[in-house]
C-alpha cells in the first residue's frame, strides 16, 4: 500500500475488540447464571431479595455488573484523543 495508515485505527480496533470482549463476558454471565441456576424444578429454587436466584444473578447482578465493567474499562482503556479527519500524530503511529 502506498499510503500510511492512520495511526489512531490501531487503538480504535483495540477498543472494538475490548467492546466485543465485554459483550462475550455479558453473554457468558447471562447464560450460565440463568440456565445453571434456573434449569431445575421451580419448586427447588432458592430466592434472593424475593426473586428466584437465577433471575437475581442473571438479570439484576448481570446488568449492574456489566454497567460497572463498561464504566471501569472505558475509563481505564479507552482513549480520548482526537477523532478529527486528519491524524494529528501520524509520525509516532508506526512504532505504536
Amino acid at each position: 500500500m502506498k499510503f500510511k495508515e492512520d495511526s489512531r485505527y490501531r487503538r480504535a480496533n483495540r477498543e472494538a475488540v475490548i467492546s466485543l470482549g465485554m459483550y462475550v463476558l455479558f453473554f457468558a454471565w447471562w447464560y450460565f447464571t440463568a440456565y445453571g441456576l434456573g434449569s431445575g424444578d421451580p419448586a427447588g429454587y432458592s430466592y434472593v431479595f424475593g426473586l428466584p436466584s437465577w433471575f437475581f444473578y442473571s438479570c439484576i447482578v448481570g446488568y449492574i455488573g456489566i454497567s460497572l465493567v463498561v464504566w471501569a474499562v472505558v475509563r481505564l482503556f479507552f482513549s480520548e484523543d482526537s477523532i478529527e479527519g486528519t491524524d494529528p500524530d501520524g509520525t509516532e503511529g508506526s512504532q505504536g
Partner: protein, 492 residues
C-alpha cells in the same frame, strides 16, 4: 373530569417538547453554505455530548415494543421474557464501542452525514446507494406506521379518547418538531424523552410492587398461578433455548446494522462524548428494559386475567395509578414512540434530500443554495411524516408483524456492508450488493414461508447467508481502488 386530569400532564409534556425543539433550532449554528446546512439539519453539526448521545441512541432504539409489546409478553410468560429483554443491555456499548470511534473518524475524512453516504464513499456504487435508500424509506415508513398505530391505540386505551385524537396529538407533535428543528431538535427531545421514560417506568414498577404487597408475596402468587412463570423457559417451554439464543443476533450484535442507531455514531462531538455515551447508555437501556418488563411480569400477580398482552401495561397503568400519574406515565411510551419516529423521519428525509437529490445536483453542477436545500428539507420531512400519519388513520392490523419485519430487514441489508466496510479492506461493491440482496431476499423468504432452521429466529440464517454472499462477492469483484482505501485508511 378524570380524563382531563390525565390529559393535563401530557399536554404540559408536549408543550415542553415543542419549546425545547424551537430552542434547539435557535441554538443551531448559522450556516452559510449548502454543505454546512446539510450537516446542521441532518446531523446537528456533529455536536452531541456524552449524555445526549447516550439518550439519542437508547431512545431511538427503545420503541413501543419495549414499553408495551415486550412487557405484555412478560405478563403472559413471566421472568423468562425479562431474561430475553436483558439481551439488549449491551446495545449502547456495542454500537458505540465497535463502530463509534472508527465511524466518527472515517465520516469526517469522507464528509459523510448519513450511513448511505458512508456506503457511497466506501463502495463507490450507485446501486448500493439506491438499495440502501430504498431499504431505509420502505422499512422506516413501515416502522413509523407501526409506532404511530401503537401509540394511538395506547392513548385510546388509557384515556378513553378516540384513536384519532391520540394520533393527531402526538403524531402532529413529532412531525412538526422534527421538520422544524432537524437533527438537533431530534436529539434534544430524545434526551428529555429518555428522562420521562425513566421516571415513568420507575413510577409504574413502584406502584406494581406496592400493590402486590412486596416482591416475596408477588413471587408466591406467581408460583401459585403457574410455577413455570418463574423459570427461564416459561410456561410450556414457550421460550426454548435456540429461540432465545437467536435474540442475541436479532436484538444483539445485529443491531450494529440498524441505520437509525449507527447514524448517531457520526454525530458526537469528541472521543470523550463517545466514551461517556457508552457508560451512560448501558446503564440507561438496562434500567428501562428491566423495570418495564418487570412491570409486565409482576403485573400478572397484581391484576390477573388480562387476555390481550398489549393491554397489560395500559390496564395496569389505569388500575394502579391515579389519573394524574397515569397521564405522567403514558408520556413514557409516547416518548419512546416519538423518539423512535423522529430519528427515522429525519433519516428518511436525508435519504431523499441528501443521498439522492443533493448528490446528483452536485454531480450535474446545478446551483444549490442553502435556502433552496432548507426549503426542500423541510418539505420532504413534512411530506414523509404526513404520509405515515395518513396511513395510520386506517391502520392495517399487522402491527407487530410489520415492525419485526422491518427490524430484521434493515439488519439483513445493512449489517455486513456497514461493519465490513469499516474493518475489511477487501470489502467491495460486489460483496456489498450481493450481501444486501441475498440478505434481504433470504429474510423475506424465511419469514413469509415461516421456515426455521434448528428452532432459531429467521435472522440467524439470514445473517449467515448475507456474510457468505459478502465474502463471495468481494472475492469475485475487483479490489477497492487505492484512492478509496487511502481516503478511508490514510492519515489525511
Amino acid at each position: 373530569m378524570n380524563n382531563m386530569n390525565m390529559i393535563l400532564p401530557l399536554a404540559i409534556y408536549l408543550v415542553l417538547v415543542f419549546a425545547v425543539a424551537v430552542w434547539g433550532k435557535r441554538a443551531a449554528a448559522k450556516t452559510s453554505d449548502a454543505k454546512g446546512f446539510l450537516e446542521e439539519y441532518f446531523l446537528g453539526g456533529r455536536s452531541m455530548g456524552g449524555f445526549v448521545l447516550a439518550m439519542a441512541v437508547i431512545t431511538t432504539y427503545t420503541s413501543a415494543s419495549s414499553f408495551v409489546g415486550g412487557p405484555g409478553v412478560a405478563y403472559k410468560l413471566g421472568l423468562g421474557w425479562i431474561l430475553l429483554a436483558m439481551i439488549q443491555v449491551p446495545t449502547a456499548f456495542l454500537t458505540l464501542g465497535v463502530l463509534g470511534k472508527k465511524f466518527a473518524i472515517v465520516s469526517r475524512k469522507v464528509n459523510a452525514v448519513t450511513i448511505t453516504e458512508y456506503l457511497r464513499a466506501r463502495y463507490k456504487n450507485e446501486l448500493v446507494v439506491v438499495i440502501a435508500s430504498l431499504a431505509i424509506l420502505v422499512f422506516f415508513m413501515a416502522s413509523m406506521l407501526a409506532q404511530f398505530i401503537g401509540g394511538a391505540r395506547l392513548f385510546q386505551t388509557v384515556t378513553g379518547y378516540p384513536y384519532l385524537v391520540g394520533l393527531i396529538i402526538f403524531g402532529i407533535t413529532v412531525v412538526i418538531y422534527t421538520t422544524v428543528g432537524g437533527f438537533r431538535a431530534v436529539v434534544i427531545t430524545d434526551t428529555i424523552q429518555g428522562c420521562v421514560m425513566i421516571c415513568a417506568s420507575v413510577a409504574l414498577l413502584w406502584a406494581v410492587v406496592s400493590a402486590g404487597g412486596g416482591m416475596e408475596k408477588i413471587m408466591a402468587v406467581l408460583r401459585e398461578t403457574d410455577p413455570a412463570l418463574l423459570t427461564p423457559t416459561g410456561p410450556g417451554n414457550a421460550i426454548p433455548r435456540p429461540f432465545i439464543l437467536s435474540f442475541w443476533v436479532l436484538v444483539g450484535f445485529a443491531v450494529l446494522g440498524l441505520p437509525q442507531t449507527t447514524q448517531k455514531c457520526l454525530g458526537f462531538r469528541d472521543a470523550r462524548s463517545m466514551n461517556n455515551g457508552m457508560i451512560i447508555g448501558t446503564f440507561v437501556v438496562g434500567f428501562l428494559m428491566l423495570t418495564m418488563h418487570l412491570v409486565g411480569a409482576l403485573g400478572r400477580a397484581v391484576l390477573p386475567g388480562i387476555e390481550v398482552g398489549d393491554l397489560a401495561v395500559p390496564t395496569i397503568t389505569v388500575k394502579l395509578l391515579s389519573p394524574f400519574w397515569a397521564g405522567v406515565f403514558i408520556a413514557g411510551p409516547l416518548a419512546a414512540i416519538m423518539s423512535t419516529v423522529d430519528s427515522m423521519l429525519i433519516i428518511s428525509s436525508a435519504a431523499i434530500v441528501k443521498d439522492l437529490y443533493h448528490h446528483h445536483a452536485v454531480k450535474k453542477n446545478l446551483p444549490v443554495t442553502p435556502e433552496k436545500l432548507g426549503r426542500m428539507s423541510l418539505i420532504v420531512t413534512a411530506v414523509i411524516g404526513a404520509i405515515v400519519f395518513l396511513a395510520a388513520l386506517r391502520p392495517p392490523s399487522l402491527l407487530v408483524w410489520i415492525n419485526l419485519f422491518a427490524f430484521g430487514g434493515l439488519e439483513a441489508v445493512f449489517f455486513w456492508p456497514t461493519v465490513l466496510g469499516l474493518y475489511w479492506k477487501r470489502a467491495n461493491a460486489a460483496g456489498a450488493l450481493l450481501s444486501m440482496t441475498v440478505g434481504c431476499g433470504t429474510f423475506f423468504w424465511l419469514m413469509i414461508g415461516k421456515i426455521q432452521v434448528g428452532g432459531t429466529h429467521q435472522i440467524v440464517p439470514t445473517i449467515v447467508a448475507a456474510l457468505a454472499a459478502f465474502i463471495l462477492g468481494s472475492y469475485i469483484g475487483k479490489k477497492p481502488d487505492e484512492e478509496t482505501l487511502a481516503a478511508f485508511w490514510g492519515r489525511e
